[in-house]
């Protein structure tokens, strides 16, 4: 099996969802009225659009995540060669984690991890 066969699995997802939705369109009943297509808001008339500004806290966590996730991707190749490299790899990961943890502590101290 080759990795080109991944296309098959992509298509399986498309076929399953697409097929079911098309089938459902044919068999399902259809009726329209004014209130039905309103977004749900506890039964009261909708006040305004939902595309609004929201808490900046989510954005801060996303930024910190971006840094750490790139680091995780870098560490994976290290994990594979760790056993063969021995002492060199161990010292390198200590240096790497020292820098990483310093970054985490800085963010922590600055209050980026505090929910507002």
């Amino acid at each position: 099996m080759n990795s080109e066969y991944l296309v098959l699995f992509f298509l399986l997802g498309v076929v399953l969802v697409g097929g079911a939705i098309v089938f459902s369109m044919f068999v399902s009943p259809k009726s329209t009225n004014f209130a039905k297509s309103e977004p749900y808001e506890c039964g009261i008339p909708v006040k305004s659009n939902a595309w609004i500004q929201f808490n900046v806290g989510y954005y801060l966590f996303a930024i910190i995540y971006l840094v750490f996730d790139v680091e995780t991707v870098f560490i994976f190749p290290w994990g594979v060669v760790m056993r063969d490299m021995g002492m060199t790899a161990f010292i390198e990961i200590l240096i790497f984690f020292f820098i990483l943890v310093t970054g985490l502590l800085y963010a922590w101290k600055k209050g980026a991890l505090k929910w507002v």
Binding site: M1, V27, P39, A50, W51, Y58, A62, D69, G79, W115
Partner: protein
């Protein structure tokens, strides 16, 4: 034909040869693709339906209720009846919604879970694609589903959906770090990212036993983080029904809603089988060195039974979490990840590296 329940390599080779000898190579490949596609489609649907039923029964047992018991014996056809009902329901279009993204979102969540299933090793020789970066690929693909959730929440133009989706985004990306780092512990032990290689390295003992303390810590962290990554209780803030109605899929109806539901259960299956493969030895039987009699009995159980047994064990544990712990608040959730699990995980990786360096694990 030599069908062997313990090793599927010869069986798949036999099918391949039989098809290639009787028709042109192109046609053979097309027929193979169709067979694999149908098998996986059927497998996906059956596992999804069974998990939904299992969840309702387990929940009922934990809460001292009966659960579904009307459709068929012990209610086993309940989920099929639900599926037919959902297929017959009207697909409602929401006013002012972003229609393209609204319809795209179910595709993304389902495709992400299909791509992940492609790399799972069910038994020896029974793995669709054996990447040399297998676990890294799984880690990458299984987190793609959150894009579907974010799109679903944002595009439906409802305040509940938006809040649910943004929460889910923050939660999933945060816990992804812990998932990755806890899997890294096993990658360091095994020295490879290929899933078949990781399983072969557990032939004489599972990593959770061979890797003793750090592997156990990594396993516990993985369980917590993967429960959060699949948006399941006690971390189901994305669809906290007491505050957000249904979270990101509030506006979805009929079969589109069913796909979000199905994807959630398939993601649970995927993370449970990753846990089984990495920590609990995949399809390798349980062996104790020296106990030849017991090892022989364990060898007698087919690998596919071992794999599904371990996966079901992890799934039942995740269901047990969901129905016994109260839901966390968003700030508690993010604190748990960034202030406890992440530093613990980094320390654990250093410990793993040290133990591998000194050779202090059971070889």
């Amino acid at each position: 034909m030599d069908f062997n329940i313990y090793d599927f390599t010869s069986f798949t080779k036999w099918v391949d040869n039989a098809l290639n000898s009787s028709m042109s190579p192109l046609l053979a490949i097309i027929i193979e693709l169709i067979i694999i596609g149908l098998v996986f489609l059927l497998f996906y649907a059956i596992v999804g339906l069974l998990l939904v039923y299992a969840e309702r029964k387990v929940c009922a047992v934990i809460q001292n209720r009966y659960g579904p018991n009307r459709v068929g014996p012990f209610g086993i056809f309940q989920t099929i009846a639900d599926l037919i009902k959902l297929l017959m329901k009207e697909l409602i279009n929401i006013k002012h919604a972003d229609n393209f993204l609204f319809n795209l979102a179910p595709f993304i969540v389902i495709i992400a879970s299909f791509m992940a299933i492609a790399a799972l090793p069910f038994a020896k020789g029974l793995q669709a694609i054996d990447f040399n970066i297998g676990i890294f690929y799984l880690f990458a693909v299984s987190s793609l589903g959150v894009i579907g959730i974010l799109l679903a929440g944002w595009s439906s133009n409802s305040k509940y959906s938006l809040i649910g989706a943004i929460r889910s985004g923050a939660q999933v990306i945060s816990y992804e770090l812990s998932v990755g780092l806890s899997l890294l512990a096993i990658v360091v032990f095994a020295g490879t990212m290929q899933l078949s290689g990781i399983i072969e390295s557990q032939a004489d003992g599972w990593w959770i036993i061979k890797g003793h303390f750090p592997a156990l810590v990594a396993f516990v962290i993985f369980l917590i983080a993967s429960t959060a990554e699949t948006n399941r209780g006690p971390f189901d803030l994305a669809e906290a029904e007491s505050e957000l109605t249904a979270g990101f899929h509030t506006e979805y109806s009929g079969i589109k809603f069913a796909f979000f539901f199905l994807a959630e259960y398939m993601n649970m299956f995927i993370v449970a089988s990753i846990a089984a493969t990495m920590f609990l030895g995949g399809w390798m039987p349980f062996h104790i060195a020296g106990w030849d009699g017991m090892n022989a009995i364990m060898d007698y159980v087919p690998p596919i039974v071992w794999f599904f047994g371990k996966t079901i064990f992890v799934i039942l544990m995740m269901m047990w979490f969901k129905w016994t712990f109260p839901r966390l608040r968003i700030d508690q959730l993010l604190n748990l990840e960034w202030k406890y699990l992440l530093p613990l995980n980094l320390m654990n990786i250093v410990l793993v590296a040290f133990i591998v360096l000194m050779g202090w694990y059971i070889k």
